[in-house]
């Protein structure tokens, strides 16, 4: 390694797996020429926990709580995707009130996630004051979620066949009060990120990605929307309550970090509007229906728009009370390529903001690991796998 670097006269700056810029493990190597980045590589796989395999060993209800822990920030999204998929397999439809509450928790979670991201982005850019204020105000929405569902992070609002928590009048009025405060703060943050010259100096024209590039790389979520891609599962393939409560997609044309920031801050307003609408027209009725323990044979793809982009679950049932196969594709994994594509030519100082700009979730990314070697085959027999394992750990 050292010789290589010397020979090519390149200077490689490693960021991660342990680095103050990253709160989760991931490894990035930036080849720099002075302060200018001339090459970037990514290596993931430090937070692989075997969740997909773990699901096969648990029944459907247990599996939902396991996938809720794929990501700490979009926990509701994962549980909801799983529940929606399992319900579709079992031919069960959750009642409208449950669907609306799923939407409500999902949008509250989006607010919490975007505010968290804004703080992280500010911190990466050395703007700790903005970081402290956004995280202080994020407490409001965390408290609302705790009041509504009973927990601040892993809400466990879903059960198979509906939701656990109902929205009562006092809770609804508390949420509306919180939304008023958050809307006012969000407007303030929009003003800061779009006018403060020092922050603009760090975000404007950094990591610019054109619409064509975004399409080619497959950018999704706010990262794609910042490049003008009008893609949002909530609108394109509505699920849960989004059928009755359509959203307006927020897009920006800039494609740089500024546009990504603006998209996320403007999505706060959209979420707040949606929450108000849902609370205003909450359908009456039951909040859950009975779900069979054994799910009929079949396979289904369940898609949901997480704060970071599209979450995709492939779920296969063999007719037992346990899933046959769960495949999870999280949004972060789709967006990594955008960082690597846009990093070259920027300053080293921009790298943390660029990395944080896609709102990465490392534990989301690490679903499975495949180490490709020269003589690797696509499939391994059990015997070959055993021999490989024995050799690897010798």
């Amino acid at each position: 390694m050292e010789e290589q670097v010397q020979a090519k006269n390149k200077f490689v700056v490693p960021i991660g797996p342990q680095h103050p810029a990253l709160k989760e493990p991931g490894h990035f190597e930036f080849t720099v020429d002075g302060e200018i980045v001339v090459g970037a590589t990514v290596r993931l796989g430090y937070a692989h926990r075997g969740i997909e395999k773990g699901c096969e060993d648990r029944n459907w209800a247990q599996g939902m709580y396991l996938v809720e822990r794929v990501c700490g920030i979009c926990s509701h999204i994962h549980a909801m995707t799983f529940a929606l998929g399992a319900e579709k397999l079992a031919n069960v439809t959750a009642p409208p009130r449950a669907q609306a509450i799923r939407l409500l928790v999902g949008e509250l979670e989006r607010i919490h996630s975007h505010m968290l991201w804004l703080g992280v982005q500010a911190h990466e850019g050395g703007f700790d004051t903005l970081f402290m204020y956004t995280w202080r105000d994020r407490e409001t929405v965390m408290d609302l979620l705790e009041m509504l569902t009973g927990n601040r992070v892993n809400y466990s609002a879903n059960v198979l066949g509906g939701v656990k928590c109902d929205v009562t009048d006092p809770i609804a009025s508390e949420i509306l009060k919180g939304m008023d405060f958050l809307e006012q703060r969000a407007r303030y943050y929009l003003d800061i990120v779009s006018t403060d010259e020092t922050f603009l100096g760090r975000t404007r024209d950094v990591g610019t990605m054109t619409k064509e590039q975004a399409l080619r790389i497959g950018a999704i979520g706010p990262t794609g929307r910042a490049s003008g891609l009008e893609r949002d599962v909530r609108l394109n393939a509505p699920y849960a309550g989004y059928v009755d409560f359509p959203i307006k997609v927020v897009t920006e044309q800039g494609g740089d970090l500024l546009a990504r920031t603006l998209v996320r801050v403007k999505e706060l307003f959209e979420s707040i509007r949606l929450i108000r609408e849902v609370l205003d027209k909450l359908p009456p009725g039951e909040i859950s229906v009975r779900m069979p323990r054994r799910v009929p044979e079949g396979a289904v793809v369940s898609r949901v728009e997480a704060p970071r982009g599209e979450v995709l679950y492939y779920m296969k049932s063999a007719g037992s009370d346990k899933p046959e196969r769960i495949k999870i594709r999280t949004p972060s994994i789709c967006n990594w390529a955008t960082v690597m594509a846009t990093a070259v030519g920027h300053k080293l100082a921009d790298m943390p903001m660029l990395l944080a700009g896609i709102d990465p979730c490392f534990s989301c990314s690490d679903r499975s690991v495949k180490i490709v070697r020269r003589d690797d085959e696509q499939y391994m027999t059990w015997e070959a796998l055993r021999q490989y394992g024995n050799g690897f750990y010798r």
């Binding site: 700056v13 050395g126 004051t129 020092t198 100082a349």
Partner: protein, 309 residues
């Protein structure tokens, strides 16, 4: 007798222990103010002291491949330089422990020596973050040093002397120079922030990019000494700027009020901006800072020449 008093001046007051204590307290005040501005609690008053003791008690890990003498020596030189500079400034509003014609230049160079030591300490190791940190430290040194010096030369020219204590006396007897040379004051204040590597000029030690910059490989005693050096630099910088621009420092109360007021302004500035990239820092200093300071200086010279001042 004079040997004893010089020894006292060096070891206890105003140099030595009193200065270290003041440095730690000012660091605490700075952190506390920033915390208050960010609506959080901030550290308790003894936190910087506790940090220093902890670091001094820790094992110092000397990484492979460094020049051992430099690794050990640079922190000592850095603190020594800062302590020496303190002898020429009117700490606590009292007369400086030592004074001679042109000590302003010596004091400024002593302060730059600290930054130079920091840069060398970073360049001494093989650590990539340290090397980049060192490059940035030295780049920043070259960018803020000239404007900062020019901004301090303004008052010196007006007072007609390059001796800190005389400028202090002149400032105490005349209109506050923040009013007569406002541009110089702003440049000096912002220059001080650059010198201390405070946000938004903290690119040389930006933790989200290069961990801890030049000090990444320092763990125990060396880190403590560098931190102490920075704290002393903070006190000296505040003293210099308030002595020159805020009507001089003639008694301890005035010293306390003026430096703390200045510290509050520093804290507000620290928490108001996003970090500047090193190229933005350099651009800002040479395109704006140096130019403004130069114009101010020329104006002072011309006015002085025509006899207005």
């Amino acid at each position: 007798m004079s040997e004893l008093s010089s020894l006292l001046a060096l070891m206890i007051f105003p140099g030595g222990l009193a200065l270290l204590a003041a440095g730690l307290l000012y660091e605490w005040a700075d952190r506390k103010l920033v915390a208050q501005l960010q609506n959080r609690l901030g550290p308790r008053w003894f936190q910087p002291l506790a940090d220093t003791f902890k670091l001094l008690a820790k094992e110092e890990i000397v990484p492979q491949g460094v020049h051992k003498g430099l690794f050990w020596g640079l922190p000592v030189v850095a603190v020594a330089a800062a302590l020496t500079a303190a002898l020429y400034v009117p700490l606590a509003g009292l007369n400086p422990a030592a004074a001679f014609r042109g000590d302003l230049i010596v004091a400024l160079y002593m302060l730059s020596l600290l930054t130079l030591c920091l840069g060398l300490a970073g360049a001494n190791t093989y650590n990539r973050f340290s090397v980049i940190g060192a490059t940035r430290t030295l780049t920043q040194l070259f960018s803020y040093e000239a404007p900062f010096m020019l901004s301090l030369l303004g008052p010196a020219l007006v007072a007609g002397t390059w001796q800190i204590s005389s400028i202090n006396q002149y400032a105490a007897g005349n209109t506050w120079m923040i009013l007569t040379q406002p541009v110089g004051f702003v440049v000096a204040l912002v220059g001080l922030m650059g010198k201390l590597e405070l946000p938004p000029f903290d690119a040389p030690e930006a933790e989200t990019e290069i961990v801890s910059g030049a000090l990444t490989e320092y763990s125990g005693r060396g880190l403590a000494l560098f931190h102490l050096g920075k704290d002393i630099e903070l006190v000296i910088g505040l003293t210099l700027v308030s002595a020159f621009y805020l009507g001089g420092l003639t008694n301890p109360l005035a010293f306390l009020l003026k430096t703390l007021a200045l510290l509050l302004i520093l804290a507000v500035l620290q928490s108001l901006f996003a970090r500047l990239r090193i190229d933005q820092t350099v651009g800002l200093w040479w395109r704006v800072g140096a130019l403004l300071a130069l114009v101010q200086l020329l104006l002072v010279i011309v006015l002085k020449g025509t006899g207005v001042l």
